[in-house]
């Protein structure tokens, strides 16, 4: 559908059914409210940093809802809305941005990998998970989210190549939001499109309107079905826009004009689906706003108190079992009686044992 919410399908993909469109709309309303609440909490100093998803809700909810329960999602740091849509507890998602730990959720519970901060490294992990699924005879597809900047990284090249050679059941969804922090796309690539990049690897590639949730859902669903049927990987370039700055620490006015942002606000993914669904008649969104407010209130409350953190945890998860040296360092950090002294040649450092 276009920016005005008018259906424009050319028949390549079937329009998702009404219930799916309603589910997409609901997820976008909830996701946008979540994002706004977290941005507010970040301004209040409750989070160390937050990269907003605002403007990219269609890409993120369309992808997350297209996944089957057995499929894997490999998100980046900017994909909190996708992770929440997949079912991960919103406060668990924020653990890393609050700074309590790195990944706050169990990746196996919803099959969501830890949000990836180094660019493009997660593309290879997705290929590995997908290839392992094929080797083990498991019907699971890995879907990896990456940005326009990440397509310049070497790991993206390697992942596309490995996926194509191995015919791995993996889907690459490039959210092309126009900027890698401050660097615009034309300084990132000379390719006619990012979808073109898949062609050289022998990968089926498509460019879609990433602010059209129906298009994202239909394309990703089709790519997942193809991968699951043994058709190998697909690369999808979803054209979208990051309405907020890179993070709360960024100043987007240094590298882009207000009228550009205003132009993209006209193409808002949430509003256009609302218009489309309203035109169908049978549509009541009032419950979604209440749900979104409820989620935001819950996040406010739960983020209002500091989570308990323990220095003991620093030493627990470095290896499957703490090494002897880490056990000593833990005792030292926690001021426990069994310190590094135990190995000190029978003499205390600087104490009476010194000759």
């Amino acid at each position: 559908m276009d920016a005005a919410g008018v259906a424009t399908g050319d028949g390549t993909y079937e329009l998702p059914d009404h219930d799916t469109l309603v589910a997409l709309y609901r997820a976008m309303v909830v996701g946008r409210r979540f994002d706004a609440q977290v941005t507010a909490l970040t301004r209040q100093g409750r989070l160390a940093v937050y990269p907003s998803s605002r403007g990219q809700e269609a890409c993120q909810t369309g992808t997350a809802l297209a996944l089957r329960p057995q499929d894997w999602l490999f998100p980046t740091y900017r994909d909190c809305v996708a992770v929440v849509t997949r079912g991960v507890d919103p406060v668990d998602v924020l653990v890393s941005f609050r700074g309590d730990w790195h990944c706050g959720y169990d990746p196996y519970e919803h099959r969501v990998a830890p949000q990836c901060t180094p660019l493009a490294t997660n593309t290879l992990h997705a290929v590995g998970v997908a290839h392992a699924a094929r080797l083990r005879g498991e019907d699971a597809v890995a879907v990896v989210l990456l940005g326009d900047g990440a397509t310049s990284e070497g790991d993206t090249h390697e992942a596309l190549n490995f996926a194509a050679v191995w015919k791995a059941p993996v889907v690459f969804v490039v959210q092309n939001n126009g900027y890698a922090i401050s660097v615009p796309l034309h300084r990132q690539t000379a390719a006619p499109s990012l979808a073109h990049k898949g062609i050289g690897y022998g990968i089926r590639s498509e460019q879609i309107d990433g602010n059209d949730a129906a298009a994202v859902y239909a394309t990703v669903s089709s790519a997942i079905a193809s991968a699951a049927a043994g058709g190998g990987p697909t690369l999808i370039e979803a054209l979208t826009y990051r309405i907020e700055a890179h993070t709360n620490a960024d100043d987007a006015s240094r590298y882009r004009q207000d009228d550009e942002v205003a132009g993209w606000l006209e193409r808002d993914p949430v509003r256009r689906l609302a218009v489309f669904l309203s035109s169908s008649g049978d549509f009541d969104a009032t419950g979604f706003d209440a749900e979104a407010e409820g989620l935001a209130a819950g996040v406010r409350t739960r983020m209002g108190t500091d989570a308990p953190v323990s220095p003991s945890d620093l030493f627990e998860y470095v290896y499957a079992r703490p090494t002897a040296a880490l056990a000593r360092q833990r005792a030292d950090a926690l001021d426990l009686p069994v310190g590094g002294r135990a190995t000190m040649d029978g003499h205390e450092p600087g104490g009476r044992g010194i000759r």
Binding site: P107, V127, G128, A132
Partner: protein
């Protein structure tokens, strides 16, 4: 009696037995399939286990380690090969940012039982980028186990232990010992993955080393005996974690220590060993701990590498400088 087996052959047997023992184990990398690897460590495995267990990957080291991480997340136990030490550097980000940290980032929910095999070190007349001793890049990274073997028997044992480890293991194979032969018994008991072993008992000096220079230290011990020094040689095996217990016990017994490795001395592994032993054994030491290492230079070309690599003579020279008062006190 068992036939003598080379280190490369022992590692090959270890991989075959590991693939046999656990169908989650897979082996992949560059040229590891029909060719059997450039050092033939995977010889015959592709034919024996098929292309879903042992296969050639595209030529990309970050891709190899990165996809292995995904496979381990999804239930497999990959053993991957980097063709040479310096060719592993493209995988450095995957190793340090992901392989080493996943268990920690996820509070232990995701473990990565992966072995990254890296033929390392010089002494084989290799041209540039084929002879680096890259161990400290990995030992400095928490979350990785870093081990290296010195003999066929221990190579077999150590590789089986590495494959069974729940932690990611950087498995360093000293290239110049690949063709050393001895009968092996394919036992996995004996020292554990994290343990050092005393390979030559002695009373005067503890020579602490690992990988390719263990044999060099043993040669120094043989020659040293004629010069009146009774050297104890410790093969560290595990560079990370470090086996304080075995090493400090030896140094407290002998009172003197020399650390030997091929890699450059500056910020090298020996610096950590010397610092730890000084902290833990100061009152037992009769002399400063000395290091015998490669020079602080890029790895030299084949015609010059013998100047760079520690040999028995340099080890014994260091031994002679350990502040002896009169004769060594043995005998």
């Amino acid at each position: 009696m068992h036939q003598p087996v080379s280190l490369a052959g022992a590692l090959n047997q270890a991989l075959g037995d590991a693939l046999d023992a656990d169908d989650r184990v897979v082996v992949f990398g560059e040229d590891v399939g029909p060719l059997g690897g450039v050092f033939r460590v995977t010889d015959g495995l592709a034919a024996r286990f098929g292309p879903d267990r042992v296969w050639d990957s595209p030529l990309a080291e970050s891709g190899i380690v990165g996809t292995a991480i995904g496979m381990a997340m999804n239930g497999l136990r990959p053993v991957v090969e980097m063709q040479f030490d310096a060719f592993a550097y493209p995988a450095f980000e995957q190793i340090t940012s992901h392989l080493a940290k996943m268990h920690n980032r996820t509070r232990g929910r995701v473990g990565l039982p992966i072995v990254v095999r890296i033929p390392y070190g010089g002494g084989i007349g290799g041209v540039e980028h084929h002879c680096d001793s890259s161990e400290v890049y990995y030992t400095h990274t928490a979350g990785l186990r870093v081990v290296t073997c010195a003999t066929p028997s221990d190579g077999y044992r150590l590789l089986r232990q590495a494959v069974d480890s729940p932690d990611p293991v950087i498995f360093l194979e000293p290239k110049r010992r690949y063709w050393t032969k001895e009968p092996i018994d394919r036992a996995v008991d004996g020292p554990e993955l994290h343990q050092a072993r005393v390979v030559q008992p002695g009373r005067d000096v503890t020579v602490i080393t690992y990988g390719g220079t263990v044999e060099t230290a043993l040669e120094a011990a043989r020659i040293g005996r004629d010069e009146g020094y009774d050297l104890e040689v410790v093969d560290l095996r595990s560079l990370s974690p470090f086996d304080d217990e075995t090493v400090t016990a030896s140094v407290r017994r002998t009172g003197r220590a020399v650390v030997v490795h091929e890699a450059a001395g500056f910020c090298g592994y020996g610096a950590e060993v010397a610092a730890r032993l000084t902290e833990q054994c100061f009152h037992s030491l009769a002399a400063p701990i000395l290091r015998v290492t490669g020079y602080d230079i890029p790895y030299p070309p084949p015609q010059l590498e013998h100047h760079h690599l520690p040999d028995a003579e340099r080890i014994l020279d260091a031994v002679s400088r350990l502040q002896w008062e009169g004769e060594p006190h043995h005998g």
